[in-house]
Symmetry: D3
Subunit: 64 residues, 6 copies
């Protein structure tokens, strides 16, 4: 019964890419840990670029 949360910056992730992330993350725990995909949940969070920082600086500034 894995629960996988993927947080990425909100930069036009497409519906297809989200489906690929969900499929790939589910397959990962099926392959490596032999988990049941039926009880495997994946949740993707898209974080605004002003709300994520690394090295003390907002990502919206870093990517300029």
């Amino acid at each position: 019964m894995p629960y996988i949360n993927i947080k990425v910056t909100d930069e036009q992730v497409t519906k297809t890419q989200k489906q690929q992330l969900i499929e790939g993350a589910t397959q990962l725990v099926v392959d490596i840990l032999n988990k049941d995909p039926k009880t495997t949940h994946v949740v993707i969070d898209e974080v605004p670029v002003d709300n994520w920082g690394v090295c003390g600086t907002q990502y919206s500034e870093l990517k300029k």
Copy 2:
């Protein structure tokens, strides 16, 4: 000092339903664990239906 996070798919949860979730979740930890409601926080996250997957498939596709 419990902190309770409820993640649901974003499907028109009403303000009243949110209030009921907050009230019910708080009551739960008061009743079972004898916690102080004044330090009990409940946060509800509404996840877009494209961003939640189970069994390797997006919920937006599953509910079709």
Copy 3:
């Protein structure tokens, strides 16, 4: 497909209390949001009393 995370301080929560929290939290989303219990997951985190603070002070100090 709700996912509910309950964080409490680690103070001898019994197996029975955990079962009651899981049961009660699941019932909450079934009753209020008409969710399917089969896809409702509840995860309880027990946080050491030195690792939780409120009002700027460790809970291990507050409860003295």
Copy 4:
């Protein structure tokens, strides 16, 4: 490699305040734990006022 998540109610936090939170939280783990800022991530979540409750009541009602 700290990861810091700051959840606040969604009440017009400015871009500058977000930058200050990211800078301050990063400095905290650098100063206290001697962590490398380059691998320190800070994520800010802004939670709608209907979705956060304390003492069993929605924050949108409490602040009235």
Copy 5:
């Protein structure tokens, strides 16, 4: 700058399996979203079997 959190029940996940999860999850966001692996963090949480419930029942009871 993805952050990926994988929660599984605490059932003797080996160090090698953890490395495979970290490697696979990182590769996923590199392949699908073209992210930089150097800023991709993966955190695995192992949840005690009494602390995870599905369908209102503790996993420690379900697996009996």
Copy 6:
């Protein structure tokens, strides 16, 4: 009513350092966002070094 979660690798963080993190993180949201410290919670998670990866590699291997 901020909730702040600080995740660090589990490497002998002392009780005093935890108190300093709690105090500093609380002060941050008081100073920058004018929040009430009485409703500000800080939770520190210490993650085993085998369970955290960056750049696709376990931290326990990276720090060798």
